[in-house]
């Protein structure tokens, strides 16, 4: 299948409440025209590549207690047993036991674990992609502390190489690798947007400065759907008098290569950011309000690069919190009750859980926590690429109801988060359920409430 | 090396509290006495076959009391028989010739078997009596008695 075909068959839907490709019919998706043997061999090769001591520990440890189901929004919302998190890994576990486990010899010799088949992987495509946001809530309930989300991430590698990814996700990932953005935010589009926004909002937006202390990145969701975020970013950084820049050779923080499971694309996408940051001599790379971008660069970036990164990587919420607390960002009090939706990859799995709360406190707003919050927050249902997959809509909407109930229970006036993917999932859910709550961006709230008389200190801010 | 003398010995008092078995036994006696009264059914309870503490036994003795009859039988050692204050309940204690208790029984009966004359003994006695009678000098004017009927 050529790339042109994909663009024609699944054109971008830029007017929809959340970005994606045109809705195809329900199906098992297959990319490429490999035979079944080649496909399964490729899947196995890429499954096996990932089996190290950590994955092995996890796969040996499951006691089949079934508790992970109770933590998963897709199981809780639907009651369907197949959405039990550990069940989603069944073919992956099967491959492990047969090929790499300590007793693999017996499993092979006596065929105690059968070879994984293409039919099986096709069946599991829905479980590995459509019904897992890799939110990691199941890790929190597992009595053996098995990190199922990371295993799903690994399982996706084999699926992607074997061409068994849901089309929309494959499509955006491929476009991302090819064009530099999953949603059409090519370098040209990005630069034009920045210029237009600078004019429209009368704000200085440096792009492609040769040297800068801080390199800022954006999510294409923000670029295309929430461009105010670009403005907000610029306002805050300018307010601080920071030495910063966007780079047209490394601005896209989303990494659909990682979400689809294509390790090569993941690397390509990450290296763009890393090389751009190195090129401009940045000491700090700020990741935008995007969940998986944090996991991709903050925690996996250096490993993709193969050595420690020569700059620090921080999420925008961490940056805001630090500078609100040390007074470099000064804000007017925002006397409202506010509830915060933790983006799974930043909070629970990323470890930046306190930063947004510090920022909210610095804003002077009253934070009303949801009943399950922080490390145990319910996922919005759209992460892990799920929001791109149309056939997952029914279960995603069901899962979203859990989220809506949580938000309603707080009674807070403002609903905010630090992930534009969560934000578009909320917007989509809001439209679907005709809900009266709109998700806001914490970054935009800070930018909108900056104190007057910005300090145009020339000194650099680390 | 420590000598045997160094090994202290502590004498632990035997269990002497009431175990409750004595009370259970009295309930049992009540049932069996009722059967004796209504159906004439006799019964016996081996006191040594039951886990009774010294206190239990003492309580039983005090509770049952002593009735009107007491007998001592001298055959291969002593046997002591007495009726308790509750007519129909007898205590029969068998001793060996050197005075050890070999059996201790509560009999629920109108008359314990050990007191009753064994039928064989009666027949033997009859023969012996007649023999003895033959040795007895006859009184003038009387004929010999006959105990064929017994």
């Amino acid at each position: 299948m050529s790339n042109g075909d994909i663009d024609a068959r699944f054109p971008l839907e830029l007017e929809a409440p959340r970005f994606g490709l045109k809705k195809p019919e329900a199906r098992f998706d297959v990319q490429g025209d490999m035979g079944d043997d080649a496909r399964i061999a490729t899947a196995m090769k890429n499954f096996v590549r990932d089996f190290g001591a950590v994955a092995a520990t996890y796969m040996e440890s499951c006691i089949h207690c079934g508790m992970c189901a109770e933590s998963c929004h897709f199981y809780v919302a639907t009651g369907e047993a197949k959405y039990t998190p550990i069940w989603k890994l069944e073919p992956f576990k099967q491959a492990y036991k047969r090929e790499m486990g300590p007793f693999a010899f017996f499993f092979r010799t006596f065929n105690l674990k059968k070879r994984t088949t293409v039919a099986q992987l096709k069946e599991w495509q829905e479980l590995i992609y459509d019904s897992c946001t890799m939110c990691g809530r199941c890790t929190m309930i597992c009595p053996m502390a098995i990190d199922i989300a990371s295993l799903v991430g690994l399982a996706r590698h084999g699926m992607a190489q074997a061409g068994l990814v849901p089309h929309e996700l494959w499509g955006v990932a491929e476009r991302s690798d090819r064009e530099g953005s999953p949603l059409g935010a090519t370098p040209k589009v990005f630069k034009e947007r920045c210029e237009w926004l600078a004019d429209e909002y009368e704000v200085s937006i440096p792009v492609d400065k040769a040297r800068a202390n801080i390199m800022v990145t954006m999510s294409s969701i923000e670029i295309m759907k929430y461009p105010q975020s670009i403005v907000a970013t610029a306002k805050v950084l300018n307010h601080m008098g920071a030495d910063w820049t966007f780079r047209s050779d490394g601005y896209e923080a989303t990494n659909f290569g990682m979400l689809s499971g294509n390790a090569q694309w993941q690397k390509d996408i990450s290296l763009r950011l890393i090389n751009a940051a190195i090129a401009c001599g940045a000491e700090l790379l700020i990741l935008p309000e995007c969940g998986h971008a944090y996991g991709a660069l903050r925690w996996q970036g250096a490993n993709v690069y193969g050595k420690p990164l020569p700059f620090k990587v921080r999420h925008i919420s961490e940056f805001l919190a630090e500078n609100l607390q040390n007074g470099r960002i000064r804000v007017q009090p925002l006397a409202k009750t506010m509830t915060f939706h933790d983006p799974c990859q930043v909070s629970r799995r990323g470890g930046a859980m306190e930063a947004p709360r510090q920022a909210i406190r610095a804003l002077g707003a009253e934070l009303v926590e949801m009943k399950e919050t922080g490390g145990l927050n319910w996922c919005c249902g759209g992460g892990g690429g799920v929001v791109t997959i149309h056939r997952a809509d029914p279960i995603r909407y069901k899962a979203f109801q859990i989220k809506m109930k949580q938000v309603e229970d707080t009674g807070a006036e403002v609903l905010t988060s630090t992930c534009s993917n969560c934000r578009q999932t909320f917007d989509d859910g809001q439209a679907h359920f005709h809900w009266d709550k709109t998700m806001t961006s914490l970054l935009e709230l800070v930018a909108d409430n900056l104190a007057e008389a910005p300090s145009e200190r020339p000194s650099a801010v680390k | 090396m420590s000598g045997l003398a160094d090994i202290g010995v502590r004498i632990v008092a035997a269990q002497d509290g009431l175990s409750g078995n004595g009370h259970a036994l009295i309930h049992e006696l009540d049932k069996r006495l009722e059967r004796l009264a209504e159906q004439g059914a006799t019964d016996a309870i081996d006191l040594r076959g039951l886990p009774l503490s010294a206190a239990d036994l003492q309580m039983l003795e005090d509770f049952l009391g002593v009735g009107e009859i007491e007998a001592r039988i001298d055959a291969l050692g002593l046997t002591r028989v007495y009726e308790t204050a509750y007519a129909g309940i007898w205590r029969v204690t068998y001793y060996s010739e050197d005075g050890k208790v070999v059996a201790d029984v509560l009999e629920v009966t109108r008359q314990p078997g050990i007191i009753t004359t064994p039928p064989g003994d009666v027949a033997d006695a009859c023969g012996r009596l007649r023999e003895a009678l033959g040795d007895l000098p006859p009184l003038p004017g009387r004929s010999t008695n006959n105990c064929e009927a017994s």
Binding site: P143, W299, N303 | -
Partner: protein, 217 residues
């Protein structure tokens, strides 16, 4: 050789040999697989205290999950704690452990141990029914789950029977009890019962990895 002598003699020796062989085999086979270096800038270093933290804290369920998992967790606690009381509290068991490891501690009254065993057996029975009824558990269960259940249940039941003098004569029942425990020992490394060791490895791994990132535990 009678059954009891067989159970205490060669059977016990073989069971322990298989047990040790299997446990070491499996742990080594897992831990010696590749381990990729992590170049990311750690949020917390060193991370290993997190391993111990999670090993401890994950033993207690989180309040947020309680409503949905209370029943299964309660039953599991009953049978795990009950089993621990029986295995570690019953004097003859302590003697066995002492004879093998030299470690010893005071035993518990037989009545308490018997009660624990009965509760354990009850909880295990309930959990089996649950496994057969609950759609999730039925879906994810395999031979290992049912066989492991059996080899745990057998020593509990035969132990109770031996204590209660039920079934065959005591010495036979005792031998059957010991043999059933040996079956459990021999099976432990090869099935899910291995979690008695892997729980430390698995929780420790996640604890350390997540502490490094500052992620929620």
């Amino acid at each position: 050789m009678d059954l009891l002598s067989f159970a205490r003699g060669p059977a016990l020796q073989w069971a322990l040999v298989i047990f040790l062989l299997g446990v070491v085999w499996r742990l080594t086979g897992i831990l010696l697989l590749g381990r990729a270096p992590d170049y990311s800038e750690p949020r917390n270093a060193p991370a290993w205290p997190g391993a111990f933290k999670l090993i401890l804290t994950r033993s207690w369920p989180k309040r947020e999950f309680a409503a949905r998992t209370a029943f299964g967790e309660t039953m599991s606690y009953v049978f795990h704690i009950g089993l621990a009381i029986v295995v570690l509290g019953f004097a003859p068991h302590i003697l066995l452990i002492q004879s093998l490891t030299g470690l010893s501690w005071p035993g518990l009254p037989t009545g308490l141990v018997t009660l624990s065993a009965a509760l354990t057996a009850g909880a295990l029975a309930v959990l089996l029914v649950r496994r057969l009824m609950h759609p999730v558990l039925r879906l994810i269960s395999n031979f290992d789950d049912y066989f492991s259940w059996l080899v745990v249940m057998l020593p509990v039941v035969t132990g109770l029977m031996a204590t209660a003098h039920a079934g065959p004569r005591y010495e036979t029942m005792l031998a059957v009890h010991i043999l059933s425990a040996e079956l459990m020992l021999a099976w432990l490394p090869f099935g899910k019962l291995m979690h008695s060791f892997l729980v430390f490895v698995s929780r420790g791994t996640t604890g350390a990895l997540f502490t490094r990132k500052g992620a929620a535990l």
